[in-house]
C-alpha cells in the first residue's frame, strides 16, 4: 500500500509514545451521535476490469447531444493542442505552488495568465485564479466590504440579472459575516437593470454588482450603472464572460473611472463542459485594492545575478502569514485549468478570441431570426444580447425540452424555477460550434414539436352533423 506510509508497527509505536491504546481513542471527544456511521451503502470492491467496464457504460449514457444550453457554462471549440500541451509532464505539479520559487515554470505560466486576464478585463492586476465563477463573486463581495472604507453599512446591491446560482453561492458564503445582499429587480421589457429605475437616494451601500452580459444574455448599461454606484461612494464589482470581452467594453473602462473588481468564470477559455466542473474563477482589480485581493499573485522580479525570475508576491494577504486575518481562508486556485486557459488564449490570440466572440454573436442572431418563423415562440427581451437569449413558449418548457432531448438536442435551460414571472421561458445559446445545419435542425425540431404538442393540447372538436 504505497499511499499509506505507516505500518502497523509505526502506528503502535506512535500510540505507545503518547500513551493511547488505539487511534479510535483519539476521537472519543466527539459525541457518538455526531460520528459518521461508515459507508454502509458502498458495495464491496470490484476488479479494475469490472469497474472500467461499468464506468464506460455509465459514461455512454450521457448523450453528447447538440447543445444549445449556456447559462454560465459554454460549449466552445478547444484546439487539440491545448490539452495536449497542458497535460505534458513538464506541467505536472501541485495545483497551487507550495514550494513556490522552485516551480519557476508554473510561476511563469501563472504570470502570463495574470497578464492576459488583466489585459482582457482592462484592470490593473489579476490573481492566479479562484475556484469557480460563483465563489469568485462571493470573494469579490467580501473583498469590496474590506476595501470600501467609506461605506458604513455592509449592504451590497445585486441585480436579479446575475446568475441565480452565483447569487445563491454568494449568499451562502457571506451571510454569516453580517453582509446583506439586496436584490435589484430588472426591467421586464429590456431584461436589464434600467439605470432610470435606480433610487436617487439609495442610502449607504458597499458595492453594486454588474453582470455583463447578464444571465439572460442581455447587455447591461454598464457605464451609467458604474457611474451611479461611484456617485454614491460604492464600489463596482463586474461579473463578466471573458469571451465576450473580445467584443464588449472591458470592465476597466466602464463609465468615468471603470469597475473596481472584475470576476467571473473562466470555463469558456479552453475548459470542456463537464457536468458542472471543475471550472475556474478569475478575479482582477484596481491596483489600489490589491492588498485586499484574495488568492495567489505571481510577480516578476530579478534575482541576485540580475536574471529574470518569478515569485509569489504580496503574500502578507495570505493565510500562511496573516492566519485568521488573511483576505481569504477558503479560496483556492485551479492550476491545471488555468494552464489550459493560458495555452488556449495564447493559441487564439486577441484576434482569434474576437473571431470566436463574433461568431457566437452572429450564430445567436441567426438562430433568433430563424425562430421568428416558428409560431408560439417569441423573444422575451428587447435589449441586444451577446450569445444567449430568452424565449417564451405558449407550451410548458419541460415538455419541449423532453421532446428535443429525444431527438438528441439539449434545447436550453428552463427559467421557471428562478424566474417564475417569465412564465414558460427558456434560455438558449448558440456558440461558434454551431453550423447553419445545426441551427436549422434546432428550428425544424422545435417547429415540429410545437405543432405536435399544440395539437395534443387542443384536440380538434368533432364536427356535429
Amino acid at each position: 500500500m504505497p499511499f499509506v506510509p505507516h505500518t502497523e508497527e509505526d502506528v503502535r509505536a506512535m500510540l505507545s509514545a503518547i500513551g493511547v491504546d488505539s487511534i479510535e481513542a483519539l476521537f472519543d471527544e466527539i459525541p457518538a451521535e455526531l460520528r459518521s456511521k461508515g459507508l454502509t451503502e458502498v458495495p464491496q470492491g470490484e476488479s479494475e476490469m469490472a469497474v472500467a467496464r461499468l464506468l464506460r457504460e455509465r459514461a455512454a449514457e450521457d448523450e453528447r447531444g447538440l447543445c444549445f444550453a449556456g447559462a454560465g457554462a459554454y460549449e466552445h471549440h478547444i484546439p487539440a493542442a491545448v490539452w495536449e500541451v497542458a497535460t505534458r509532464g513538464e506541467y505536472y505539479s501541485a495545483y497551487t505552488p507550495y514550494q513556490a520559487e522552485a516551480s519557476q515554470g508554473t510561476l511563469q505560466l501563472l504570470y502570463e495568465y495574470q497578464t492576459m486576464m488583466a489585459s482582457l478585463t482592462a484592470m490593473d492586476v489579476s490573481n492566479a485564479s479562484l475556484y469557480d465563477g460563483a465563489s469568485a463573486l462571493a470573494e469579490a463581495i467580501l473583498m469590496a466590504v474590506r476595501a470600501n472604507r467609506k461605506a458604513k453599512s455592509k449592504r451590497v446591491l445585486i441585480p436579479r440579472t446575475v446568475h441565480p446560482a452565483y447569487r445563491k453561492v454568494a449568499q451562502t458564503i457571506v451571510r454569516h459575516q453580517g453582509i446583506i445582499l439586496e436584490e435589484l429587480d430588472y426591467d421586464m421589457a429590456g431584461g436589464h437593470i434600467d439605470p432610470a429605475s435606480l433610487p436617487t437616494e439609495p442610502g449607504d451601500f458597499v458595492a453594486l454588482v454588474i453582470p455583463q452580459p447578464n444571465f439572460f444574455g442581455v447587455i447591461e448599461e454598464v457605464d451609467s450603472l458604474t457611474d451611479w454606484a461611484h456617485q454614491h461612494k460604492a464600489l463596482v464589482i463586474a461579473v463578466v464572460n471573458p469571451v465576450s470581452l473580445a467584443l464588449l467594453t472591458p470592465p476597466g473602462e466602464w463609465g468615468e473611472i471603470g469597475a473596481d473588481i472584475a470576476c467571473g468564470d473562466g470555463q469558456s477559455l479552453g475548459v470542456p463542459l463537464a457536468s458542472g466542473g471543475p471550472y475556474f474563477g478569475f478575479m482582477c482589480c484596481r491596483q489600489a485594492y490589491v492588498r485586499q485581493m484574495p488568492g495567489r499573485i505571481i510577480g516578476r522580479t530579478t534575482d541576485l545575478d540580475g536574471k529574470e525570475g518569478f515569485a509569489l508576491t504580496l503574500q502578507a494577504r495570505e493565510q500562511h502569514i496573516r492566519r485568521s486575518k488573511a483576505t481569504s481562508n477558503i479560496c483556492t486556485n485551479q492550476g491545471l485549468l488555468v494552464t489550459a486557459a493560458t495555452i488556449h488564449m495564447a493559441l487564439l490570440g486577441p484576434a482569434g478570441l474576437q473571431r470566436v466572440a463574433e461568431s457566437c454573436h452572429a450564430n445567436t442572431l441567426q438562430l433568433l431570426a430563424k425562430l421568428k418563423a416558428v409560431p408560439g415562440i417569441s423573444k422575451v427581451f428587447k435589449r441586444p444580447g451577446f450569445h444567449e437569449a430568452v424565449l417564451q413558449f405558449d407550451l410548458p418548457v419541460g415538455d419541449v425540452l423532453r421532446a428535443l432531448s429525444a431527438q438528441g438536442i439539449v434545447g436550453g435551460v428552463a427559467l421557471q424555477e428562478d424566474y417564475p414571472e417569465l412564465g414558460n421561458a427558456l434560455l438558449i445559446c448558440a456558440t461558434e460550434t454551431k453550423t447553419e445545419a445545426d441551427l436549422d435542425s434546432y428550428v425544424d425540431n422545435l417547429q415540429r414539436i410545437s405543432t405536435r404538442l399544440q395539437a395534443a393540447r387542443c384536440p380538434v372538436e368533432p364536427k356535429m352533423a
Binding site: R149, K150, R291, Q315, A316, I321, R322
Partner: protein, 131 residues
C-alpha cells in the same frame, strides 16, 4: 537594547503614545517593534474619523515576510493618519518615534492614557519577552 524615550507611554503590543498639547494622542510603533519586523513595505493607516475601542486593531504594518496589527492604545476617534506612510513605509524603520508616527487619536476617556506603561515598565516588558 533599542531606544525607549522616557517622555512617551507604551503598550504591551509595542505601540508608543505621545500626549499632545491639544489633548490628542499620537501613536506609533516602537523602535523595538520595527527592528523585529524588518524592512516595512506597506502601512495600512486608519481612516480619519473612524472610532476604535482600547486594544482594537486599527492599522497594519507589513514587512517583506510578515504583517502585524497595530492596536489602539486607548478608545477614541482617529483625527489624523500619517498619509506619508502610504508612499514611504520606511519612515517607520528610519524614525519610529518621529516621522514614522501612524495616527493621532482623540481619547474618549483621558484616564486611559495614565494607565499606559512608562518607559521603564516597557523596557522591562521587552526584556521579559526576550526570555
Amino acid at each position: 537594547m533599542s531606544k525607549v524615550p522616557s517622555e512617551l507611554r507604551y503598550t504591551k503590543t509595542h505601540e508608543w503614545v505621545r500626549k499632545n498639547d491639544d489633548g490628542s494622542l499620537t501613536v506609533g510603533v516602537t523602535e523595538h517593534a520595527q527592528e523585529l519586523l524588518g524592512d516595512l513595505v506597506f502601512v495600512d493607516v486608519p481612516e480619519s474619523g473612524s472610532s476604535f475601542g482600547k486594544g482594537e486593531d486599527c492599522a497594519v504594518v507589513e514587512s517583506v515576510k510578515a504583517a502585524s496589527d497595530v492596536y489602539s492604545p486607548v478608545s477614541g476617534e482617529v483625527i489624523e493618519a500619517n498619509e506619508n506612510l502610504t508612499d514611504s513605509p520606511e519612515l517607520i524603520n528610519q524614525d519610529a518615534f518621529g516621522d514614522g508616527w501612524v495616527f493621532k487619536i482623540k481619547p474618549a476617556d483621558e484616564s486611559e492614557f495614565d494607565g499606559l506603561m512608562s518607559a521603564d515598565e516597557y523596557s522591562a516588558h521587552v526584556a521579559a519577552e526576550a526570555h
